[in-house]
Each structure stands twice: as C-alpha cells, then as structure tokens.
C-alpha cells in the first residue's frame, strides 16, 4: 500500500478514496483512474462501481488516481505486487502499461476499460456505446426541424468516435438528408469552451445536440438551456437532471454493472481471458428516455426507436461503428 499512498501524495489534491486493502483471504480489487472521481461522469462511474463491489460482493477495495503514463504503470504494478486479484485500469491508455506489468504477475487480472486486445491476463472491457447513440441519433433525426444535428467531442479518441458514428448513423436512418456538425474541444474540463462551441453550432442551425466531453459538456447543457427549441442528448450517464425539459434521452454506460459482472466471474473461478464486450443486450449499455419528456414525443417515434433497440439486441440490426472482432 505504501507505494499507492506515495503515488497518492504525489498527486496534489488527488482524492485518495476507498479503503486500503487488508491482507487476508478476501478478494482484493484495485482501481486506477486517469482523473478525479468527482467528474460526475467517466471516473465517478468507476468509483461508484468499486464501492458496489465492496458492498455487494464483500471484496476489499482500493483506489488511486494516476494521470501520467509513468504513474499509471507504477500504480498497476503496486497493486499487483500486493497480490490484488483484479486491477481495473480505467481507460484505453492503461492497455500498454498493463501489458508491461502483467508478465510479472500472472495471478492478477488487469481489466482495461475501452482496452484494445487480450494479452495474457490483460482483458479489455469494451462498451458498444454506438448501439445506444444510434438510438439517440434516430430520435434526433426524426425531431430536428432544421435538418441539422451537432456533436460536441472532448478529444477525438476511438471510443468517442465510435459513439459519434452511431449517432450519425441513427440520424441518417430516420432522415437521409440530415446534416451533421462536429466540434472538438481538445479538453474534457473547459466548460466555458464547451458552451461557446455549442452556441456557435446552435447559431448555425443545429437544433439537436449530443456530446461526449465529460465535464466540459456542462457548457453544452448551459447553452441548450438558454436557447429555445433545442434538444440535447446525454452521454455515459442519464443526464436528464441537467436540463429536465431539454434532455430527450441519454446513452448510458453502467460501469458498476460491468465491473460487477467481471468480478463475479473471477470470484466464481470462471474467468477466462477474453474481450469483455458489453452492448444493449447486457444492460451495461442502455438507452434511457427522459420520462419527463416522454409525453411530448410521438408514440410512433418512441415505438420505432424501441423496435430498433430490440433488433440490435437480437442481432438483426448491426450498427456499423462496430469494430472488427
């Protein structure tokens, strides 16, 4: 634990939450996040998942925040060296550090969210977020009056581009003539930039907005709230509360559920290294309508979207953003 604590101290003001693990027979699970767990989005979800593991599976948990590649590798190594059974590296950037560390620690499972490939005990947890954003796009394509939809992206990372493709594909399925605008911020923190970028899109006629920019996207919600006639679609969590009358639906990733499913496998001794892929069928990736807006939507549209959802789950409809297996 000492190394983890030192890592913690090195990170000014990092939230070193979670209980430190105590040696014993209980399974120990560690989580390394690339940023603060107070982001109400990506990292917060993972930390909530860790707490659920403690509460429902009675495992010992520990968490550290590690921002730079060197710190990230060190944090993974430190958990593995202490005999942690599962270490979650929360983000695709943990794939390579985990592969370097894993060779030395064959008894530890390294689960990398949005990871790229299986390598020994390193397994990627892949979210097929595009299945849910496709459904958001179907709604946006049907509801736009200006034939223009907009997407605000934090950075052009592969999982974010995947969600964007699903959103565009869904919109075109409803409305082949729809025009898609995309703005990249190169930041997940700059909410003021998120707002100005969104306002620029709204001024140019965008009336349906989706995003994947974590905290910076608060600016998008702020912009939509002050512009009449515009709808916004939440990402990664149900974001209806940010604009109760303007959020039509959200594409949700239930990180706690994914972490629970994987940890159960390890606990039961059934774990086999493979790509842990979660889509709509697993209920880890979900499409959630805003209940407050449901009455304002046409029944026909909601039925169409739900039918598409069922088709995706049954494998009858494949959203093309799907990466090759």
């Amino acid at each position: 634990m000492r190394r983890a604590i030192v890592t913690c101290l090195l990170l000014l003001g990092a939230a070193c939450g979670g209980e430190s693990a105590t040696p014993g027979d209980t399974l120990r699970v560690g989580l390394v996040t690339p940023g603060s767990v107070a982001d109400a989005a990506w990292n917060a979800g993972a930390f909530a998942g860790l707490e659920q593991l403690r509460d429902s599976l009675l495992v010992d948990i520990s968490h550290v925040e590690a921002r730079t590649p060197a710190e990230q590798e060190e944090a993974l190594r430190s958990y593995a060296a202490q005999g942690y059974a599962i270490v979650f590296g929360h983000g695709f950037e943990f794939q390579q550090p985990a592969e370097r560390v894993a060779a030395e620690f064959p008894n530890t499972v390294f689960a990398i969210t949005s990871g790229q490939r299986v390598a020994g005990q390193v397994v990627p947890i892949v979210f097929r977020i595009h299945e849910a954003t496709y459904l958001l796009g179907r709604m946006a394509g049907a509801l736009t009056r200006t034939n223009t939809i907009g997407f605000l992206g934090g950075m052009e990372l592969p999982p974010i581009v995947l969600g964007l493709r699903g959103w565009e594909e869904g919109a075109r399925a409803e409305n082949p003539a729809v025009d898609s605008r995309v703005t990249w911020l190169n930041s997940f923190d700059d909410a003021a930039a998120g707002k100005e970028a969104t306002l620029a899109m709204l001024r140019l006629g965008v009336d349906q907005v989706h995003h994947n920019a974590d905290a910076a996207a608060l600016g998008a919600f702020s912009a939509v709230r002050e512009t009449p006639g515009v709808l916004i679609y939440g990402a990664n969590a149900n974001q209806a509360s940010l604009a109760p009358d303007r959020v039509a639906a959200s594409a949700v990733i239930d990180l706690p559920r994914a972490m629970l499913l994987l940890t159960r496998e390890v606990l039961a001794g059934e774990f086999v290294p493979k790509v842990e892929s979660f889509g709509l069928e697993s209920d880890v990736v979900r499409f959630e309508l805003n209940d407050r807006m449901r009455d304002t939507l046409s029944t026909a549209l909601v039925q169409r979207v739900m039918l598409a959802r069922d088709s995706i789950i049954k494998g009858l409809l494949v959203v093309a953003g799907t990466p090759a297996p």
Binding site: A15, A191, A197, A200, R203, L218
Partner: protein
Amino acid sequence: MSDDAILIGFGAATVRVATPLLLAALGETVSERGGVLNLGIEGAMLGGALGAAVGAAQGSAVVGLALAVAAGLVAALLLAAVSVWGRADQIIAGTAVTLAAVGVTGLVAQRTFGSAGAGLELATLQPVEVPLLGAIPVVGPVLFRQSLLTYLGYLLIPLTWWLLYRTRFGLELRASGEAPTSARAAGVAVRWRRTAGALLGGALAGLGGASLVLAQVGTFTEKMTAGRGFIAIAIVVLGRWHPGGVALAALLFGAATALQYLVQASGLGGVPWQLLLALPYLLALVALASAVGRARAPAGLARDDQEES
C-alpha cells in the same frame, strides 16, 4: 440565419471569450510593470472561478465576486510573500502556486459540491443591455449586451492606464519594475510597490476566473481555466505591457477563438480541427514575431529587487 445575425453572434462571442482574458491580462500588466511575473495567475483564475461558484451557490453572484477576489488575492499574496519578500525565483514560485491551486480547488470543490459537481443552478450575472448604446445596430448587441464583468473590463482599460502613467503610485511601481536598485536609492519602497502590483494582479485574475463561472457557463469544473492564465501572460507581451495594447490583444485572442468555433460548427470539410484549435496561438505567434522589434519587457521583470538590472 441571416449574415447579420451570424456576425453579431460572432462579435458577441468574441467579447465573451475575451472578457476573462482581458481582466486577467490587465492585472498581469500591472503586476509585470512592477517587476513581478506571476505564473501563479492561472492558479489565481482557477481560485477565482471556484470562489465565484462557492459564493454563487449561496444564492448571490455578488458574494461570488467577493470570494473570487479574495481567492485571487490569496494566490498573489503567496507569490509575493515567497518571491518578493523571500526572494525566491518568481518562475518557480508562480508555477508552484498554480500547481497548488489545481490541487486545492479540486479538493475544495469535491468537499463543497460532492461527486455530483456544482450543477447548473448557480446564481449568475445575466447580460445587461446598456441604454442607448445597446440599440446601435451590430455594435450595440456585440459590445453593450454583455455581463457587468465585461463592462468592468472596459472601464479598467483607461483606469489601469491612468494608474500606471498618471499617478505617483504608478510611477513608483514602474520604477520598481524597471530599475529596482535605483528606485530604492530614490526612496521608493520597492518591495511594497511590487507587492501591491502583484495583489492588484491577483484580484483581477480572480475576477477573470469569476467571469468564466458567473458570466459564461454558470458552473465550476476542475481545471476549467484550461490555460487561460498563461494565455493572459502572452497577451501582456503581445499588448506590449500597455493597457490599450493588452485590450486589443485580448480581443484578437477572443476573435480567433470564436472564429475557430464558428468554422468547426459550419462543417466546412478539409480543415483539420487540430489546426483550427491552434488558430489563436498561431495568430499570437505571428503577431509576436512581427512586433518583436518594438516589444520590451520591464528591465527588472522576474528579477530580484537586489539585482542590478
């Protein structure tokens, strides 16, 4: 949408984006004229943003402004204590202040707002239209339908000029920045002048951070200043340490930023977004390169007050 509406939208966005930069850069101008290069300005802005959010969460934007100024003052006081009085290197001290501010604001924000964050229900400063001036076509809605902090920025341009060039304090401050040893020989309390300049700079940086929260987005997120403090320092250089030049440079940055959002949003293919995002910085480089012959920093900038300049 008509061309006029797009032009007005672009102009208003330029002024909104420029406001926090203008406030912080005017403050940094005063600070640097006194010889204190404040790399802690990014931290002061971040502290100001958090102070504004914490105050606004109590239901009042005015309390937010007061806390923002206080946070900016604390950051500047730290820098002044260590580098002016303790004679530590300004660059290192300023960097430390900014790094500390990133950590402390994150911690305080988590304690204050919890994992749900500050939300979007904070009290804010809505745009106020200036009577008569606001009715001028195009110019009115661009310049005179803004928040009170923008108007404060307008007022501070001549005020800063007056302070620097028309008051005894300004003269002594500039002397402390240009030639501290000579100034001391002439009876100027150099360290006190430098401290005062740094504190003024900190207060204005705090207000700059506050404008992000109260006049723009209406919430606080960790690291939300995203380097604006460092941009403000570049703006001071670009504006050649003169309030008028600084104001123009802040507007240039605002315009370049607003323009790149507009170009990205217009969906014109072919231009990589990375290049668009770099536009404000590329413009600054070009402007700096073309102004380099004439630009000169205060001779005692970032130097100890005992050093011969």
